[in-house]
Subunit: 351 residues, 2 copies
């Protein structure tokens, strides 16, 4: 127990990141609303007036600050700690949406929030202390150990099979295909992001790491993985409802990232069985809370409570893409997702 | 970490108890079904044929075995460990109902099960070791320490206020009144049950405790508390839907029991802050899982999924009274709860 200083900095950064990212969606949405009120044209039906709305840009900047904080957090704390805490941004935006935007949070959604918090606390309490890293070469050694190479090899083989065999056949019918490609690549991008982040941290501390080709190699890996991940996440979001994609993607991505981190950084070496089991349970609890929040986002009050039967099911689709909380109403005659939706969907919770 | 032998026995007994109690409802229900098939009269409409059905009696015996195991568990392990594990019986009956009775478990119900298990694991890992007790006089000392006497005093005052002031005024409109009376008394009954259980355990081990008046005093307290608890739980169940009463009662009862145990047995002395926080989080997770299971028990598949609008809401009331899983269908013209329901409701999860 007892967090090390490095872990504590990482924890604070991860929490701040969730706060920024979570609130950025509320700010952006308020910007969109205000732009729609001024122009009379909703972004969803083709307006770009929101680009003239300062509030929207404030939201954008808030989000970027959050992403940077998240990136830096990986340089200080293990991925096992930082990744699951990403779920807290959902709570922040759900809570703010409830109080500021007056969007009703389903009672089970509140339960989901409580679970995410309880699970996060358990994870934080049991997070492993990381060995201080002195050079990017140390990370390179970890990345080239046989166990991690085996993991990378399996990921590449699986991604190839998924991209060339399954994606053309059932990519459009089975949500798991694209989600699996993104998650597999995502676990590699987080590992390389961590390597790059640590290198930059060391460089800023005076130990220049940019002279090592390994640093540049990790940057290349980040670029390749992130591009691939975005590409297939976009495909997934174009094909399936965000409410379906997001929880599946979150679960697979977080699980694989933790697996990769445990193999590469040996996070669990020297931890007692009880601590590891507690961490896994905390992780399961956060996942369950996230799923609950996502699922109940689409629940209207049950028709029997409202006393009316919904003959035409309300197509209120809430874009809750990992960190997002854009509520977009489809017009009944508008089969394809609106433009805001597509646009918002592009913002992916990559790390 | 690492369970002591005593804790391990208590844990196994608590798990066995949940297994027995959980499966007893399925056995009893199968007995009821078979009796209805043979006689053509449902228990819900006044039949007592189930008393001739051996399967129903098997279920009854299974339940009693479970209750005894639960009682004995308190003699071995702290209430902080035993009480929350009671939630596992709900999982057992929900799972068995799914596979044996082919009752559909809502997807969120599965999530609730997962959470109950994860939370229970966390509680077990962080459960405090209990100091071995050598005599009922030791328990007497703990029960008469100022802090615990203050707790007992507050409970008695609160119960008096609730019974004489609030129960006549809003007992029939506010579910919290009866639930609070039951839970407050329940926390005292668990403490005295633990005292009696430990005394009997010591007596069986050769250290006769029945010569002490303290043992008999604790037995008297058990009797008074349990009678009062049953009385008000019956009132609560007669007045409100079981699906409403059960989760509220479970949450209040478990919380107060843990509070009482922490004060009386000083369960948390010598435990690190992280361990205590983990226990509390595990407990919150189990509670959330229980609530989720209870709430989703009544969910039908959403009408928009089924494609039909439920013009007359199905009044499928599942009696899920803590440990129970009797599914009783109200006839549309039958406003009052059926007899099986009333009968089943009498079986209370007292400990």
């Amino acid at each position: 127990m007892g967090l090390s200083n490095e872990n504590l900095i990482g924890l604070i950064l991860a929490l701040a990141s969730s706060g920024f990212i979570g609130s950025s969606f509320i700010i952006k949405k308020q910007g969109l609303k205000r732009a729609a009120a001024v122009s009379g044209v909703r972004a969803g039906v083709g307006g770009y007036y929101y680009l003239l709305e300062p509030l929207w840009w404030v939201g954008m900047v808030t989000m970027i600050v959050g992403e940077v904080a998240n990136f830096v957090a990986y340089a200080f704390a293990p991925a096992v700690l930082v990744t699951p805490l990403g779920a807290l941004s959902i709570i922040v935006s759900a809570t703010l949406a409830h109080f500021i935007l007056k969007e009703k949070l389903h009672q089970l959604g509140i339960l989901g929030c409580v679970m995410c918090i309880a699970g996060s606390v358990i994870i934080v309490i049991h997070a492993p202390r990381e060995q201080p890293i002195k050079s990017v070469l140390e990370i390179w050694d970890m990345a080239t150990q046989p166990a991690f190479l085996a993991y990378v090899g399996s990921v590449i083989v699986l991604v190839f099979i998924l991209v060339f065999h399954f994606a053309p056949r059932c990519g459009h019918t089975n949500v798991l295909v694209y989600a699996a490609i993104c998650s597999l690549m995502g676990s590699l991008s987080v590992m390389s992001v961590k390597a790059v982040g640590t290198s930059l941290k060391l460089t800023f501390e005076g130990e220049n790491q940019l002279t090592y080709p390994e640093t540049w190699f990790f940057m290349l890996v980040v670029a390749i993985c992130v591009i691939m991940q975005m590409n297939y996440l976009n495909k997934a979001l174009d094909t399936f409802n965000t409410a379906v994609v997001s929880p599946i993607y979150y679960v697979m991505f977080t699980t694989l990232t933790i697996l990769a981190s445990v193999i590469m950084f040996k996070d669990w070496d020297g931890q007692s069985g009880g601590t590891i089991v507690s961490e896994i349970c905390g992780f399961i609890v956060v996942l369950s809370g996230t799923i609950l929040l996502h699922v109940t986002k689409d629940y209207e009050r049950s028709p029997s409570f409202r006393g009316t039967a919904p003959l035409s099911p309300s197509l209120s689709v809430r874009l809750y893409n990992g960190n997002e909380d854009f509520s977009v109403k489809h017009d009944e005659d508008n089969g394809s997702p609106s433009e805001t939706e597509s646009m918002c969907s592009r913002r992916q919770e990559l790390y």
